[in-house]
Amino acid sequence: MGIVLGNIIAIYRRELQSYFASPLAYVVASIFWLLSGFFFAAILLGPEGVIQQTTQLDLNGQRLGQPAVSIDVPYEFLRIFLGVLGSLALFVLPILSMGLYAEERKRGTLELLATSPVTNWAVAVGKLLGVLTFFITMVLPILAFEAIGFSYASPPVQPSVPLLGHLGLILLAAGVLSLGMFISSLTESTILAAILTFALVVFLWVIDVIAKNLTGPVAEALSYLSLLQHYNNFVRGIFDSSSLIIFVSYIVLGIFLTAQSIDALRFQRS
């Protein structure tokens, strides 16, 4: 067990290092930060932003002599902002996961991994943890923006709600990255892996839309399988263990399929 853990750590460190050495990763992170910073400012402070709208509602209420409606501004902001951040992440994740195996296949380093005393699933787990850590690094500065913003809120914001929302974001990312890793293991072309993973993301999004607009058992089943629905639960501050189980199932499925695909890759050449 100790050896397996050591292997996972070795793979994890190498994977993480390769992201920090890759110009592409910095470009992706910069664009992600730029856009999320823009949305942060626009949603909080912009003319259509949460604060403006709340002020408008208050003023309207005073003019009409109605009692002021109580609006939890930090909560409203977080709900909208994390929704946007989730969509933004869906665009970024295929680019992060595309090289996980495709690059190894192209360089021939898969032959090193496959002939070392490491199991396929240990490699997959190490790689997934590596790319997920990089994604978490991308999310950290955004948490800092929020912490600064929320420090001005009165009454103070309970940290559990934003933390749960971000946990949801990370679980969503892990699910998509895990499936993206599997897609990456199917091809030697990183571009093809990115396109196919993006197609998968669009497919997940379509499932979500269908689930929202339909009723009946099919819609219910689809909404249960939709990663985005479960993400929204987390964002709203609802911790539902079934949501957690769905996320973990997607992650495990991705790892399992990756390990199988690498096994099949070695056998199919027979």
Partner: protein, 333 residues
């Protein structure tokens, strides 16, 4: 140490190797010699556990490469055809990664990595990014990753491909220095490499092993060893030499230098005396010539090289099969 029995590998309808059987004793270097596309890489990959065989068994240190893959993978170092390197890592960082991957205990890592770096003469490159290394250094890093965990068996697929002559000599010396404590199997299509580095050579062509022996035996088992003479005599001397015991053939040849054939001086003859396998004619030829009162200007021993063995064996194969595709007869010097 390495036992391969009746190994076959079929890709779709074409068979890459058929019924390959050989074994490598502990501490030995076996050269796997064959033209491009003969099935060398396929055999190496099966041994390393990267590909499963269609039929037959291969065992390393008593473990089946397919059934007990993990146990085998712990005991081998493998250099694939293209060295598996991560360009964004430094040489040292990469070797640490491989050492962890191979499950080397933390306490031994630094020592073993230093030893591998030293053996492969990578000292001044240890903190250089692999991306910035030349082909020769990359190949050496590839060898270093194969030996970093000090495995009992080392599998090297074309270890000297793409190196300059000096680097080739260094890599050969490195491989020779590893023998004894390690069992090595290396593949090559370069003939002198096999004869210089290996204790034994297995010649593979079109997926089948056609000969396994020491380079010396392979060479001496071949016709064509003997002497070339330049003497001042006419054809009658040739008849007398032909009568000596152990002489297979005496033929008249033109004196040839690297510039082409040299015109012979008056009354001189060039002869090639070919011996029966395993006989030594030097003494007899000299005493016969002296007995005849013939002057000797040059006497040179000629060897059949592994190249001749190789050409003879692979050409024979070609004649049997009546193909004439020609690709298997390509031999790089």
């Amino acid at each position: 140490m390495i036992e391969v029995e009746h190994l076959s590998k079929i890709y779709g309808s074409t068979s890459a190797i058929q019924d390959v059987t050989f074994s490598v004793e502990p501490g030995e270097i076996l050269g796997f010699l064959g033209p491009n596309g003969a099935g060398k890489t396929t055999t190496m990959r099966i041994l390393a556990g990267y590909l499963p065989a269609t039929s037959g068994t291969a065992r390393i240190a008593g473990f089946d490469v397919h059934e007990q893959s993990l146990a085998v993978r712990q005991r081998i170092g493998y250099l694939p055809e293209t060295p598996p390197l991560y360009p964004e890592m430094t040489v040292e960082g990469f070797l640490y990664f491989v050492a962890r991957l191979k499950g080397l205990p933390a306490g031994d890592r630094t020592r073993q990595i230093n030893a591998a770096i030293e053996r492969c003469h990578l000292q001044e490159k240890r903190r250089v990014l692999i991306r910035k290394l030349s082909k020769g250094f990359r190949q050496r890093v590839g060898i270093a990753q194969a030996i970093v965990h000090d495995p009992p068996a080392i599998i090297l697929d074309e270890p000297t491909v793409g190196l300059d002559p000096r680097q080739i000599i260094e890599v050969r010396n490195l491989i020779k220095s590893l023998a004894g404590s390690h069992t090595i199997i290396l593949s090559t299509h370069i003939l002198p490499e096999a004869s210089m580095t290996c204790n034994r050579v297995a010649i593979i062509n079109r997926g089948e092993i056609i000969a396994t022996n020491t380079p010396e035996n392979l060479e001496s088992g071949l016709e064509g060893s003997g002497y070339e003479l330049e003497i001042d005599a006419d054809a009658s001397a040739a008849q007398q030499l032909q009568a000596l015991p152990g002489v297979r053939q005496v033929e008249s040849i033109l004196a040839v230098s690297s510039q082409g054939s040299i015109p012979l001086k008056e009354n001189r003859t060039c002869l090639r005396v070919t011996s029966e396998p395993g006989t030594e004619l030097g003494r007899d030829i000299v005493s016969a010539l002296v007995g005849m009162g013939v002057g000797v200007y040059e006497m040179r021993r000629t060897h059949a090289t592994l190249e001749d063995v190789f050409l003879e064996l692979t050409t024979e194969e070609k004649n049997w099969e009546q193909t004439g595709g020609g690709e298997e007869a390509v031999v790089e010097p």
